[in-house]
């Protein structure tokens, strides 16, 4: 039987002063207009019973389309104009720039960092644009580290204070929060670059270090059962496909192995608990293969930015944080898989997609803290 498990996703509800609330109304209006036009379009194309009807339909469609295009461009124009007006209004009434409003208005964490990132990326100031490009270049080349990082953060804050005409003495709080924003945003990018290097490194059976790590994985997961030889069917017990795991890492390269290794080392009890589920006769799955697929999912979530919620609510992003995110995903996936009571492994893709959908949904809430908070009782 499975051990009882509890996993709690603690969601602290934080009161936020959202200063950009007005924007949402416009988006809704816009979506409404689009829907109405599309509805008219499909409706008109449905009845094509005779020739006259058909030509009427075509005319109607053409009319709707033209109108839609015109409205769309008009909408874009109005939107950008209103946005600038709105920002100017806030700036003059509050005497604060957008970055300050974000740093003061949002609690520390994903809400503040994500909005700061958006604001910096959308900035029209050439100096800020240059600054963002420079920081991107540094983090892409994995140089957003140590002293260089401290130096860059100081310089960036200085630049922003200058461009936005903020006095350091009047806003010491801003300097501190904004430094942290820079640190998180570009440490995340640095992490992405580091992860990519690992992913691009293929598993190499001639590399002793790679082989040692593979061996370590076995010993962590199956401590009571020694590996008979390097190429053996035993690998299938921890969910590799054949006699030799080297062909299973594929596009995930060393990253797949490192992820599995971290999970098995740092959360050994959890990992073995999950492995015991994977070896279940009816609800079982291939542990390692599913793990490699989850590496791919973790990577995808990080790349398209949805995972920022997770990382920005934790310690400063680093490769260790990426491994932790992976462990969280694996543990939650296992729980979800058992809940779904799949008939066999063929349901993997559909359950995987549902799981990904749920995770993305949870990541939308900027105040959510994702905790691998579990107790395992072996009943």
């Amino acid at each position: 039987m499975f051990g009882k498990e509890m996993s709690m996703r603690q969601t602290s509800v934080v009161q936020q002063h959202n200063l950009n609330f007005l924007n949402f109304r416009y988006y809704r209006l816009f979506i409404f207009v689009v829907l109405i036009s599309l509805l008219g379009y499909t409706f008109s194309s449905n009845n094509n019973s005779n020739v006259t009807n058909k030509s009427i339909c075509l005319l109607y469609r053409h009319f709707i389309l033209k109108r839609f295009m015109a409205m769309f461009s008009l909408w874009l124009l109005i939107k950008s104009w209103l946005h600038s007006l709105f920002k100017w209004f806030l700036r003059t009434t509050t005497k604060l720039c957008e970055l300050q409003r974000i740093c003061y208005g949002h609690m520390r964490g994903a809400g503040r960092f994500i909005n700061t990132e958006r604001s910096l990326n959308a900035s029209k100031s050439p100096t800020i644009k240059k600054l963002v490009a420079h920081l991107n270049e540094v983090s892409d080349n994995q140089r957003f580290l140590g002293e260089n990082k401290e130096e860059l953060i100081k310089k960036s804050v200085k630049t922003i204070l200058l461009v936005k005409k903020i006095t350091r003495k009047i806003h010491p709080q801003f300097v501190q929060s904004f430094s942290e924003c820079i640190d998180y945003i570009w440490s995340y990018k640095q992490m992405l670059a580091e992860v990519e290097v690992l992913r691009k490194t293929p598993y190499d059976a001639d590399n002793l270090e790679h082989e040692r790590r593979l061996d370590e994985l076995w010993h962590l997961l199956m401590p009571n059962q020694p590996l008979e030889c390097r190429i053996t069917k035993q690998w299938q017990e921890i969910g590799f496909q054949g006699d030799d795991p080297k062909t299973d890492f594929r596009g995930m390269g060393l990253l797949g192995l490192e992820n599995l290794l971290y999970f098995s080392r740092e959360y050994n009890q959890h990992a073995r608990h999950v492995l015991s589920h994977a070896q279940h006769p009816t609800f079982g799955y291939t542990f390692a293969i599913v793990g490699i697929n989850l590496t791919s999912m973790a990577l995808q979530l990080c790349r398209d930015g949805d995972a920022r919620t997770y990382f920005y609510n934790k310690n400063v992003p680093s490769i260790v944080q990426f491994h932790k995110f992976y462990c969280y995903l694996f543990y939650e996936f296992d729980r979800f898989w058992i809940e779904c009571k799949p008939k066999n492994i063929m349901e993997f893709s559909s359950i995987r997609d549902k799981f990904e959908f749920n995770i993305r949904k949870a990541l939308e809430d900027h105040s959510a803290a994702f905790k691998l908070n579990v107790t395992i009782d072996n009943v």
Binding site: R61, L65, Q236, Q241, T247, D248, G251, N344, R352
Partner: protein, 180 residues
């Protein structure tokens, strides 16, 4: 009317739908071929747990391609996907000489199944870029393809990760699809 005609073309459905089944041992390159067909990035391929499905349009055909994992534990489920298959595509790692016999046996089993009776067979001799890869004709000989008399078959050399040879195989598929 430019935009209108584009929209109309998008809405018009292709003439015929084909159901293609991609099978083969694990690490043969099935998912990579699927990704090439749907013009997706092939650098992030992972081992297939379960199956993948993609719909692609080619030469006026709508191809529904089913890529089923090749792992030994999954192979017993292959037969659940046989129904209504128009073309069977079998992928072989031409450089994996150790498992040549195993892949031959799996293929033989597929061909003797009733549900796949007279379904055309395309064999991709994949990974031609590897130095110790068998050529397409050597592989055909090794798999005993020339003795197949009850169906149309073809062997196509390819290097899926470079996209070489995949298109030629699909052209044959579209020409020889089982008439319903």
């Amino acid at each position: 009317m430019g935009l209108l005609s584009i929209l109309k073309r998008l809405r018009s459905s292709p003439d015929k739908e084909l159901r293609l089944l991609l099978l083969g041992l694990d690490n043969a390159g099935k998912t990579t071929i699927l990704k090439i067909l749907s013009s997706e990035d092939i650098n992030h391929v992972t081992p297939t747990a379960g199956f993948n499905i993609k719909s692609v349009t080619s030469d006026g055909f709508k191809l529904n391609v089913w890529d089923i994992g090749g792992h030994k534990k999954i192979r017993p489920y292959w037969k659940n996907y046989f129904e209504n298959t128009d073309v069977l595509i079998y992928v072989v790692d031409s450089a994996d000489k150790k498992r040549l016999e195993e892949t031959g046996l799996e293929l033989y089993e597929l061909l003797s199944d009733d549900k796949l009776h007279d379904v055309p067979l395309l064999v991709y001799a994949n990974k031609q870029d590897l130095t110790d890869a068998l050529t397409a004709s050597e592989l055909a000989e090794a798999l005993g393809l020339p003795s197949i008399k009850n169906r149309a078959w073809q062997i196509q050399a390819c290097t899926a990760k470079e996209g070489v040879g995949v298109k030629e195989g699909m052209e044959w598929v579209c020409k020889n699809a089982k008439r319903k």
